[in-house]
Amino acid sequence: MSIELIIGILNIVLISTTPLVFAGIGELVTEKSGVLNLGLEGLMLVGAVTGFITLVITGNYFYSLFLSIISGVILSGIFAFLVLNLMTNQIATGLALTIFGIGLSAMLGKKFGGTPIDGLNPYYFIVISFLLVFFVAYFLSKTKTGLIVRAVGENHNSAYSLGYNVIKTRYLTIIFGGVMSSLAGYYISICYAPMWQEGMTAGRGWIALALVVFATWKPWRLLVGAYIFGGVAIMQMNLQAIGVKLPGQFFNMMPYLATIIVLVFISSNKLRLKLSAPSSLNIPFEKNQ
């Protein structure tokens, strides 16, 4: 392999992994506060389509980015209202959000499939994604607000009795996660593709979800994990090209298998589980009990 080829592959890995970093780091913060949002795929698709439509209509990158973010705020706000105020089941609500998002994005984008646009340079977003991981790692481990987020996620009853506003904290982390997913979608339709196609996120929302577990809820590991997952996907295509006979599907299922193995590893030991997973994850907070 020549140097050019290696640099080329690294470049593709960098460009194709960034949406995983965005969606994953958002979900990590949401889960750190004790909420499991399975709606990533839906959020990404709606973020992708609103950004794309706005760009086609206005021709303005700032507006399109803004509206894409707003779509994430609205959708994740609805999710937050349901799971926090109405105390609905987080799994069912997240799935509803994904199914709804798949449908909504397809409807909104119907007239815009195949419309050509001038894509944005992906490198801005790549740099931002690294800064974001740094920021989240610092925020969660070194700031007081980050400590509150973790406290709420570990034991919401204790956090509540210490006087922290559990509901408000979770609203903010859910919306942060939602916006990050929208940005991931925006990146895919504006920088990576750049175009709109029904269901174009192609399951990246689920990989991002796996990634958070794979990273045992730690921001830096999430970054490493994202590049491992992204790298495996790209390697798969290139190995085929240079004639390796292993079926591509086995590479594609690696992220999911690896996540299951990590999950088994951390949960088989009670202490290890306590040290990695937020204890209140997926447990609704009922103030009046």
Partner: protein
């Protein structure tokens, strides 16, 4: 003016409202759905007609309704065991796929068979395949305390890639112009249709039988009672000495077998061969069906028909209204949102001061 909203757990928890709230959710979905049609510059009444009435206004449409409702009902009935037990198996899509691979694989291996026993063997292997795939999260949950939500979800994607491997690789039809699909199953491996010329098949009977068995299990057996107690309070169930780990196993295996059965019915019924997209999200949509049917066997039959209608309506809408068939997902998502939301009003009293 400041509103103070206070909520309080209801003591007069109403079963009537519990069973009526799906209707409220459907009504709200239709109400909001009409806005979606208005935004798209379509007349809501005309659109609803195309969406919900015209698809079932002839015998072909009614047959298609049952074709779509059958897998949804079978999977959702299986899932109700898990959900009653507070076990979140959300990997039914993967278990369906495994059922199709196992059962369909038998059909492909014995491809020159004309035996009467081919179809029953395929059905058996379909159920086994689904059950096998569901045992993995069950073992991980009981042995290693691993969260079943994430493992069952991840295994879904693993199963989809395994199916993809088979239809692109070893099972690809040599005469299929290189398309990623298998040979058709032999006639002896095809599910008999109920009415000549229509696609509705004997899976409908299976769905009804599973529904009746489930009703009996839930209401007349100790196993059903254990599920109910465990679902209401896992502590009470422990004090009573019920073996929770066994319950997890049984509920996973039942739901996996049902999903596998549904997968086999799809490939040996309407589809007739194996290819990549054997299921339009049935495994995930069945979760909505189970919740909308309130985990009640008869309720699930009704909700499976309703959700099947959203699939048909979406196909017609694509044809006649020129809107993407994904509009069906919008309705499915909305109805689940509203159902979960209305449950709140049943569980809690709201005071506004």
């Amino acid at each position: 003016m400041v509103f103070l909203i206070r909520v309080q757990l209801r003591e007069d928890y109403s079963n009537l409202i519990f069973y009526l709230s799906p209707l409220v959710a459907v009504a709200l979905t239709l109400f909001f759905g009409s806005f979606i049609f208005l935004i798209l510059d379509l007349s809501p009444i005309e659109s609803f007609k195309i969406f919900f009435i015209s698809p079932i206004s002839n015998s072909y449409g009614i047959s298609e309704l049952f074709v779509k409702a059958t897998p949804l009902a079978i999977i959702a009935l299986g899932l109700s065991y898990c959900f009653k037990n507070n076990i979140y198996n959300i990997g039914a899509e993967g278990q369906l796929t495994m059922g199709a691979i196992f059962g369909g694989g038998i059909g492909l291996l014995l491809n020159d068979s004309t035996s009467f026993f081919l179809l029953p063997t395929m059905i058996l292997f379909g159920a086994l395949g689904g059950a096998f795939w569901a045992t993995i999260p069950a073992i991980l949950k009981t042995k290693f305390n691993t969260n079943e939500i994430l493992t069952s979800l991840m295994l879904t994607y693993v199963a989809l890639f395994i199916l993809d491997y088979f239809v692109v690789g070893p099972w690809k039809d040599p005469a299929g112009y290189g398309l990623p699909k298998s040979m058709p199953f032999p006639d002896a491996g095809r599910l008999p249709v109920l009415i000549d010329g229509l696609r509705v098949h004997i899976g409908v009977y299976f769905a009804l039988i599973i529904c009746l068995i489930t009703y009996i299990i839930y209401n007349k057996t100790l196993f059903g009672f254990k599920l109910k107690v465990t679902g209401l309070s896992s502590k009470a169930s422990q004090y009573a000495g019920f073996k929770y780990k066994n319950l997890i196993f049984y509920t996973f295996i039942i739901s996996g077998a049902c999903a596998g059965l549904a997968g086999l019915f799809e490939v040996s019924g309407p589809i007739g061969l194996l290819y990549r997209d054997i299921s339009p999200n049935y495994g995930f949509t069945a979760i909505i069906v189970a919740f909308l049917g309130r985990l009640n066997p008869f309720g699930i039959i009704l909700s499976s028909l309703l959700i099947a209608l959203t699939y048909l309506g979406a196909e017609d809408a694509q044809l006649f209204l020129k809107i993407p068939s994904a509009v069906g997902f919008v309705f499915q998502g909305l109805v689940l949102f509203f159902l979960l939301g209305t449950d709140f009003l049943n569980k809690y009293k709201v005071f506004i001061k």
